[in-house]
Structures are given as C-alpha cells and as structure tokens.
C-alpha cells in the first residue's frame, strides 16, 4: 500500500459493457465525499472502437455537473492546479466488451470439459461454448464453431496425468486447424492455456506453440478423483490483464492515463467488499446482479471468496434463469396467475431486447420474481465454491461429485452481518423495500443482518481506489455509496402458523411477530438502537433456541424487517394459499402500490 497522499480531488471510472460511469470525489473539510457522477455509452465496439471516447464523454458530464475543469483537450489535468481545475489522481476498472469471453475445450464433456468450465467460470469468465470429443459435433463443425466464436482466450484440458494423450492431442489439432482469431486486434496471438494430461504437453506444444500464445499449467484433473483448478484460474487472471485488456481498443491509452493498474470490474468490487469486512471485522456478502452475470463475493472468518455465475442475469441471460430455475420456481413468487406460455414468451422477449424495463406492476413483479431465482441460484453456486481451502488446493473425491459438501462451506448465515446488493434490479427497484425483500427471499439471512444496496454502482470505482487511497474509498463507501435499507431479524426454526416466533423489544415499543409473518417497523436511516430479541422456544436468533439476544441494530429507508416466515423459508404448497400468503407478506411491508 503506497503512503496515502493528501488528495483533494479524485476521478474514477468504470468502463462497463454498455455504460462508462465516472465519479468525482472531493475532500470537504476533513472528509472525502462523492461530488458528482456522470455517464456515457461505452465505446469499445464499432464505430468508435476506442474505450477512451466513452471515458472522455463521461468525464465531460462530470465537468458540467461539478463546475470543475478536468480535461484539457483530451487529457486529464493531473495533479489538480487549483480548486477548480484538474484532479489529483485517476483510477479505472473495466468490464467493457462483455468481460472475459472464453472457449473451453476438453475431452469428455462431463469430466475434463466440465472441470475446465468450472475453472473458467470461477475466474470470472463467460464460457461461450464448451467443446469436447464427445459433444456430438463432427470435427469440421467444431472447427467452424471455434472460428465463429472469436473468444478472448481458450482453456484446453483433457486426460488424467499418465493416461492416454490421443484425444487431447486431437482437440489441440482441431484448435490449430481452426486457427481462431482473438476478438480484439489481429496483431497478437490468441492466448491458450493448456491444463491437461502432462504427458501430452510436448505434443500440444508442437501443435499450438507457434500459432498461439500457449501457456502450460498443471492439469486441472490430474487424477479422476482430483480437481485442481487454481493454477488454471490464476493463469486466466494473469492473461486477462496482460493480454486481453491491453488489446481492447483504446486500452493502451487508458493504461497510460491511470495511476493504478486497471482492474476487471468484479475484481474491484471484491476488493472493496474484502476491505469493508476487514475494517469492520464482520462477515459480509456482496452481490452484483447484472444483465449477463451475477457475481457473489463473501468474506467469512476473514476468508474472501468470489464466484461468477456467468449465465445468470436479468437481460442477456434472463432466459437461462428460467432454464436453470424452472418455471415453477419463478412462478412461486408471483401472487397472481399467469399462463406458462405467456410468461416464457415475456422472458424470451427480454432476452432478445435486453434494455427494456418493466412498465406495469405485474411486469415488475415478474422481473423481481426472476431476480430472486437468479440470486438464489447464484448463491447456491457460491456456497459450493466458498469452501475452506486453507491454502491447499481443493480436492474433490469421486463421492463429492455426487454429494456437494455443504458442511465444508464457509458460508454461515447466522454470523453474516451485512449484505450489500448491487445491480439494476436491486439498486433501481422503485421502492427500496422491494430490494430488501429480494435479498431476504433469495439469501435467507438468519438472526440479525443489515441490508444495504449500492446506490449508483460505485463499488468498482471505490474498489480500485483502495489501491491508491484506502481512506477516501472507505469514507465514500460509508457515506455516499451505501443506501442502508435497514436490518433484518430472522429467527431460525419451523413452527405452526399463528405461533409466536419472536418478540423484539425496542426502546419505545415491543413488537411480537407470529410464525409465517413478516413485520416492518420504521427505524430511520442513521438511527442505531439497542434491541432485546426474544425468540420462541423453537427459534434461534443467534444465541441458541429460545435464547434471547441483546444487540444494536441500525435503521434505514426500510427500517426493521422482522422476518418470522421461518428458515428455510417455505411457501404454502396449495396454490391459492400461496398467492394469499404472498399478498399478505407484500402488503405487510408495503411492497407495491395498491
């Protein structure tokens, strides 16, 4: 960590796949605060093909709104010349051009190809296609497909160490024959990571070594019962920074402008979440639900984990949420009847026209139902990945392939103290309580948990800023980035409808909530009060069944949500009852307009 300088003005941008967002942070008195933000369409694609155009446009908007002159022609004035001119530092993140798009090649679809896909997904890539010997395509079809996709990077795996090399060599031949070109720029060689049978390395080198930028790492499946994803994953990150990003149009220029290395957007968000957990000494979950992907970050017992559910999102990937969750799981969150075919069509229409927004309440409810499922699935994925590693490579035994070891997961919903939500569907929910309910339903936090959303998706900017000025990043995060929705109090346990589940004693009132119900109690933002929580004898709020807990809770725009709907949350099986129950819950927290 470099020594923190006394900066007065800080500029940060995030070049997203569609929008470039710029923020200006200024020091007022002794504290750092967000001054303004600006945005402009990202310009990585034709006709501009220069990411800095979008950056300059977003910065110009910041200039207009802040009355501070930042640009001189097409140059950022650095350091600041006076209070009205220039900034002291500039940092940026990027996920422009659709993030990291990878092609995964393996031998057996359900084995090495699957391991390779896991490694790529875990590294934050979007897996465009998985190609395997047994995928049913003829060799020339595989070749056409590889050529057609234009990935940023290829991960080739196959074979256990010491096993046959024939098939993985064949796949290398197919890649060589396809001679795919990288997505950005024709002047560099496409990076290929070979993480297969070590005995085939020499053959693979012969076949791919000259034409491609070939990197060899340890086998991701050295033995049938062992999966070793870390070396491949690390190599993916390294190559993304060194090769892919620097090839994207305009990035070389952008790299010259910034004062810290450009970070991939999710990487920066993760860094910030990690800092926040460390600073406060708590367990945290952060989630960013985007159009194509959902990223989940967690810090439990000081251990940071990040997963990217590459095909769970609210626009480009929305149809995949339907495929993975199933129609019934989406419909269970809807308090009205809707024809299956109609619902499927609506979801597919959002996929093909990804920038549309819900106009009616019914459409909003559908979108928020899908969001719950996307979040739930992404979190399930995260739970299986966020396991205790203790510095050693994770080993999966044959039996684990069939039984996910939930017990080894680091995720502990009772110790979880803070959830940070971000992404359009959460940050832009018309009523904040809708965001709170989506987080509650999808994550089902237990005990006492603070719920927040990132107001304007500033976490990437602040994440990368921690690398040059941690204090400024954390101050702005605390004061301007987070919208405190409130605190959830959720007793764990199962009971009978109408049975008293929890009693919460606040300074001015006592609220009793029955099992199967949820209550919203106003508690203003910034207000912190001591509460005494007395669970029913079958319920636990953190101190064991029936044991009371005295703690401090923080208010927010929503207030306190006393969620006695049970953990795990169950919806009535009877359809009429289910709809009635949903309506009751929605009404009791004032979720939608009447």
């Amino acid at each position: 960590m470099p020594q923190e300088k006394d900066y007065n003005a800080i500029l940060a941008t995030d070049c997203g796949s569609t929008t470039t967002k710029a923020i200006l942070i200024e020091k007022r008195g002794n504290e750092y605060r967000l001054r303004v933000r600006g945005e402009a369409p990202t310009t990585v694609e034709a006709p501009f093909e220069d990411v800095t155009r979008g950056v300059l446009n977003a910065v110009r908007e910041v200039e207009e709104l802040s009355n501070r002159e930042i640009l001189e022609g097409e140059k950022i004035v650095k350091p600041a010349l006076n209070e009205r001119k220039g900034v002291d530092t500039y940092v940026s993140t990027s996920s422009a051009g659709g993030g990291l798009q990878m092609l995964v090649v393996g031998v057996v679809k359900s084995m090495t190809a699957e391991s390779a896909a896991r490694a790529a997904l875990g590294a934050g890539a979007i897996v465009m296609e998985t190609i395997a010997v047994d995928d049913g395509r003829l060799p020339h079809e595989k070749i056409q497909l590889i050529r057609h996709l234009r990935p940023d990077m290829i991960l080739l795996s196959g074979g256990v160490d010491g096993g046959t090399i024939t098939h993985v060599v064949q796949m290398a031949q197919i890649i060589a024959a396809a001679d795919p070109k990288p997505r950005f720029g024709l002047t560099y060689k496409l990076p290929i990571i070979y993480a297969g049978n070590k005995d085939a390395r020499e053959e693979v080198k012969k076949i791919l070594g000259e034409k491609f930028d070939l990197h060899i790492v340890e086998n991701i499946r050295p033995r049938l019962e062992e999966e070793n994803l870390i070396p491949a994953r690390n190599k993916i990150h390294e190559l993304f920074m060194e090769h892919v990003m620097s090839q994207a149009p305009g990035y070389r220029k952008l790299m010259d402008w910034v004062d810290a290395p450009i970070m991939p957007t999710p990487g920066a968000v993760g860094l910030l979440v990690h800092h926040v957990a460390k600073q406060r000494g708590i367990d945290v979950i952060g989630v960013d639900i985007g159009g194509a992907t959902t990223d989940i970050f967690s810090v439990f017992k000081g251990t940071f984990n990040r997963t990217v559910s590459a095909n769970l999102g609210m626009s480009y990937s929305i149809s995949n949420v339907l495929v993975e969750a199933g129609l019934a799981n989406i419909k269970r969150w809807l308090p009205f009847d809707i024809d299956d075919a109609d619902l499927c069509n609506r979801i597919k229409n959002k996929m093909i026209r990804p920038t549309t927004i819900p106009q009616t309440i019914e459409e909003l409810k559908i979108e928020q139902a899908i969001a719950r499922e996307a979040l739930r699935l992404a979190f399930l994925h995260h739970k299986t990945m966020a396991v205790e590693l203790k510095g050693v490579q994770r080993q999966r035994t044959i039996s684990d392939v069939f039984i996910q070891e939930a017990a080894k997961s680091l995720i502990n919903m009772m110790s979880l103290a803070l959830i940070i939500g971000s992404g359009g569907v959460l940050s832009h929910a018309p009523r904040r309580v809708q965001a709170a309910m989506m987080l509650l339903d999808a994550f089902q936090p237990e005990g006492v948990t603070q719920l927040t959303v990132d107001s304007i998706f500033m976490m990437p900017h602040l994440g990368v800023l921690t690398t040059v000025h941690e204090r400024a990043a954390l101050e702005v995060f605390d004061k301007d980035c987070l919208i405190r929705l409130g605190t959830a109090i959720a007793p764990v346990g199962d009971g009978k409808e109408g049975e008293e589940a929890v009693k919460v004693e606040l300074p001015d009132q006592t609220v009793t909530v029955k099992f199967g119900e949820i209550e919203r109690v106003p508690l203003e933002e910034g207000q912190k009060v001591k509460v005494r929580i007395i669970p029913g004898r079958k319920f636990d709020v953190g101190n064991g069944r029936g044991r009371e807990l005295v703690t401090e809770v923080e208010g927010g725009v929503v207030g306190l949500l006393i969620d006695a709907r049970g953990r795990p949350l169950k919806l009535p099986e009877d359809d009429t009852k289910r709809k009635e129950t949903l309506v009751k819950w929605f009404e009791s927290v004032d979720m939608y307009p009447k």
Binding site: T18, N345, E363, P430
Partner: protein, 371 residues
C-alpha cells in the same frame, strides 16, 4: 439509463450490404477484386487437415520409444493405406514377427522417438465458402476470402436459429397478422424461403422441414414451440449453429406478433426472387441479428434520416414490452424530464400515438422502425 439503447432493426429496400467471407483456415481464394459473384458460387477453398489417429508403435512392438527406429518401414510424410505395415519386428529366426499396421488411409505426420507413437492423419477434407450474396468482390483477403458488396433489400430479424441459406421467397400468408399453419405450406416450398405472418406453429415448422424448405421468416413464435422444435431451451441468445434442417428468422419477437408492415410488404413484393438468409443471432455487446438479403439492381437510396440521430417526434416506433407489446405508432411527444410510471420508477418517457389513443411508454421500451 440515459439513452434508449435499442436502435431498432434495419429494414431497408435499397441499401449497401457488405459481407466479409472468410475461410475457417488459410487456403485459396478463387475470385479477384471486381468480379461479379453469385450467392452460391464457391469463392474460396481450403483443405482442412484430416482427423488424427495416434498409433502406439512401441507398445505394439513391446520395445521402448527410443528403440523403434530399426523396425520402421515408413517414415514421416509417407502416405499409407489401411493395413499397410508401418513397423515390423524381426521376430525369432524370421518367424513370430510383430507387425504394426496402419489403421487408416492417410499420411504419417510424425513419429516420436520419445513416446514411440506415430500421429497418422486422415486425408484432408475440402472446405469451401460461398459468396452468400450476389454482388461484386470489393476486396480480396489474401488466402482467406473476400468482402462482397451489393445493393440489396436488407431485413434484420430479432432472433433466429440455423445458419446461411439461399432460396426463392415464397409468401404464403396474405397479411402480416395471419398465422403460418402447416396447411399453408405446399410441397413446392422445397428449397424456398417461406414467409409467414404473425406466428408460426410448431407443426408448421415441422412441415417446412418435411418439405425441405430453406427457411421460414415470420413475426413471432411461442418460446415453448421453439423449445419443442429444438429439443432444448435457449438460455443465452447465441445461435446459428443449430442443425434442424431449416433456418428460422423471427422478425418481431416471442408470442403472436404481427410482422412489421414494411417487412411484410417488402418480402411480398419480392416474392419469387432469391434471397440469402442467415439465422445467426448473438445478443451482447456487438449485436448480431438474423437477416434476409435480396440483391437489387442499381444504386442504394440515401440512408434513412434520423436513423443515427436518435428518437425524434414523428418517428415510427415499435413498442417492445408489455402492456402494448408489438404495437406500432408514431412519437408525438418526447418530454425531457423524468416521469413516474406505473411501477413508480422515474424514467425518461415518450408519448406514442397508437390507432385509437396516445400512450406513455418508457423510452427504453421502444425501437425505431425505418420508413
């Protein structure tokens, strides 16, 4: 969201269309700049290396990799026939010889004296690319292909499946709101591009495949019918490699949706003309949409004004989300401030005149229609 991002789909009667045609690997380009080409003409050709087979010579001979040299009857680069002897042990007094025979017709690509294995390659397969559209060769990409230019009627769909095809346009629906049903598809639709109206049923798609049609262009399809037809559900819209015996181009969206009037009129006007079609769709940064291209004589028209400048009062727009999904109207007002809509979200809106009323729509929920 500061901008209504959906620029709308291009539907133009006379516009310049350029197509880059590249071989999947380096080869021979058969045409030169300025040549006139036909859609189905092969313009470049290459030979794909055949599949490889590994032959464990050392293993079969029972020697180590570095010992195989004296036993080889063939060397790298030699052509071999199936059953031909590649290596042979001396045996005992000339008997009990072990022979390693070629499992294929092909070439010995390499022999490793480390592993004792040979890589044999099947004979190369010819791959060629066609011009895809009628036009002239604007630029040759040496050893790879060419850019073909033409003036054409160019219609983009919103979603498709299947790859490139060519065929005569065969409208079978009399209006853009008619459903394409199996009975409307004649046996003579073989090799043709069937044009429907608002909707295609699963049965009609099956019928189109049965008669051997090249493609179907239609306003809408039910998501469930598509799943049934493909045998799986599409999660992310990256298509073009499906092998269902037909190319499908959906012009408006999922559900029953009248084909845009201009699209339908153009396709009807050019009935009997040959069209190039492609269902490939990729929706993410750098959008790729399915297309119908009908080459025209003469020059292109001026590009439609306002197309690049964004929304303006008077523009024809299609509403692309509930509650007026699929309806087409003219923009009558574009109020600059954010306004609250039914969901309570505050967004930029516009007012659109439909047949009988003026409705308020978020700007994100319309797309401009040309013409």
């Amino acid at each position: 969201m500061a901008h209504a991002y959906t620029p709308g789909l291009q539907v133009a009667e006379r516009t310049v269309v350029r197509k880059e045609r590249r071989l999947p690997l380096k080869g021979e380009v058969l045409i030169k700049e300025g040549d006139t080409v036909e859609a189905e003409q092969i313009i470049a050709r290459a030979y794909l290396p055949g599949d490889v087979e590994l032959l464990n010579i050392a293993g079969q001979l029972g020697v180590s990799g570095d010992e195989i040299k004296p036993y080889l009857k063939k060397k790298e680069g030699d052509e071999v026939k199936k059953g031909e002897i590649i290596a042979e042990s001396r045996g005992l007094f000339g008997m009990f010889k072990t022979q390693v025979k070629s499992p294929i017709d092909g070439v010995i690509e390499s022999i490793s004296f480390v592993t004792g294995q040979a890589i044999l390659r099947h004979p190369p397969q010819e791959v060629s690319i066609k011009a895809y559209i009628n036009g002239t060769v604007e630029k040759v990409i040496p050893e790879e292909g060419a850019i073909i230019r033409t003036v054409a009627t160019f219609i983009q769909g919103i979603f498709g499946i299947g790859g490139e095809g060519y065929g005569e346009i065969l409208p079978v629906c009399s209006s853009p709101d008619e459903t394409l049903t199996p009975d409307l598809i004649p046996e003579t639709a073989k090799g043709k591009v069937i044009v429907g109206g608002s909707f295609v049923t699963y049965e009609a798609l099956q019928r189109a495949v049965e008669v051997g049609a090249t493609g179907v262009v239609v306003g809408g399809i039910d998501a469930d019918d598509l799943r049934h037809f493909l045998g799986y559900d599409i999660g992310v819209a990256i298509t073009g490699t499906e092998k269902k015996g037909i190319t499908l181009i959906v012009t408006e969206g999922f559900g029953r949706m009248n084909m845009a009037k201009k699209t339908f009129e153009l396709l009807t006007k050019y009935a009997g003309r040959r069209a190039s079609i492609n269902g490939a769709t990729q929706i993410r940064a750098g959008v790729m949409r399915p297309e119908v291209i009908i080459t025209q004589e003469g020059e292109a028209e001026e590009p439609h004004k306002g197309w690049e400048t964004g929304l303006e009062v008077g523009h024809l727009v299609r509403i692309i989300r509930e509650p007026y999904f699929g309806q087409i109207g003219r923009v009558v007002e574009l109020p600059p401030p954010l306004e609250q809509i039914e969901t309570e979200a505050r967004v930029r809106i516009l007012k659109v005149k439909l047949d009988d009323k003026v409705v308020t729509i978020p700007r994100a929920n319309v797309e401009i229609i040309q013409g």
